[in-house]
Symmetry: C2
């Protein structure tokens, strides 16, 4: 049968190194050499596992989207039954929640590259839709009597406030930026009245 294949594992490792490089140097700044150094491999192996540059970028886009989808699923499960909007906000903004900080930075970088790699759009868009949907479901569960459209607005607002906070991380802003987003999300949730 020959040597057993570790291709799947290697592919994950290379993808992870690519993710680190994109987060640090941007999509166009993540060269094969930097990725190879990060992965501890030789440059030709990167190509062997992920294909040419375009294939690499699309693979990363799908990987990021998949990661976000898993986080959405986790979020849905980790909140008690019935889930509370307050708990959603606290999980999103808790520092120990600590979703991999590279994920959101890569998401941003890839978003800005959609014009160059159009196939990125679909997975990135639907990953975000999924996250929105989880938030909407949680908010509606916590406020069954509230208007559906209003719940949607509040849920989107909470997620967007969270996203902004993450987007500013590379700037290392004062702590107040994050706490103001957190407090704003709380206030927004409270417009729905007490939870059931």
């Amino acid at each position: 049968m020959g040597r057993p294949s570790v291709q799947d594992q290697r592919r994950q490792e290379v993808l992870d190194a690519f993710m680190t490089c994109v987060a640090t140097y941007g999509v166009e700044g993540a060269t094969l050499e930097k990725i190879a150094a990060e992965a501890g491999l030789k440059r030709p192996l990167i190509r062997h596992h992920l294909g040419n540059r375009e294939a690499m970028v699309l693979a990363l886009g799908n990987h990021i989207a998949e990661t976000l989808n898993q986080q959405s699923a986790l979020l849905r499960e980790s909140l008690g039954n019935p889930p509370s909007t307050r708990a959603l906000i606290e999980v999103l903004f808790s520092t120990d929640h600590a979703s991999d900080p590279r994920t959101n930075i890569c998401y941003q970088s890839l978003s800005n590259s959609v014009a160059l790699y159009p196939d990125l759009r679909q997975p990135l868009l639907s990953a975000m839709e999924t996250l929105y949907q989880v938030a909407v479901d949680i908010v509606r569960a916590g406020h069954p009597t509230a208007d559906a459209k209003i719940c949607e607005t509040v849920a989107h607002g909470i997620i967007n406030l969270y996203v902004t906070t993450d987007a500013f991380v590379p700037l290392n802003p004062p702590e107040s930026w994050a706490s103001n987003s957190f407090l704003a999300a709380i206030r927004l949730a409270e417009t729905l009245g007490a939870e059931s």
Copy 2:
């Protein structure tokens, strides 16, 4: 006296072309040739006007920060006396307000490059602080009796919701994403009660 200098104007044109390229290709993807093509000049002239790559990036960072500061000042003036929070939100989210869409994309790209160009951090950070401050002042003017800390939270929330909306523009999301952010900002503002 010799030929008259058009250096200042050329510098602005080159900076503008650089901005377009960064918005399209990212910081590392904006090569001198692409910038030259965009500016309608020959490559060596780019270097002549903006210096080497690092100087170019820092110049763009300062230019973006300056642009944002001007927009902040404009925002402060364009709102009536007394300014209303509602008007602030409507101006921010109005499509015809149409601040140059490249500005926010460049801001994001540059933010993600702070690790490589540390001198970018200061101007980007204080431009955002300025924008926050304008929003805080407007909200406080509209709600003179409200608690100062709460006004700060609401103002930051409004700005952050606006920022997120702009950040998603490259993904060309469904129109509902923007309208939900807008409605969330309105709801958030309403938590302060009626305006004076």
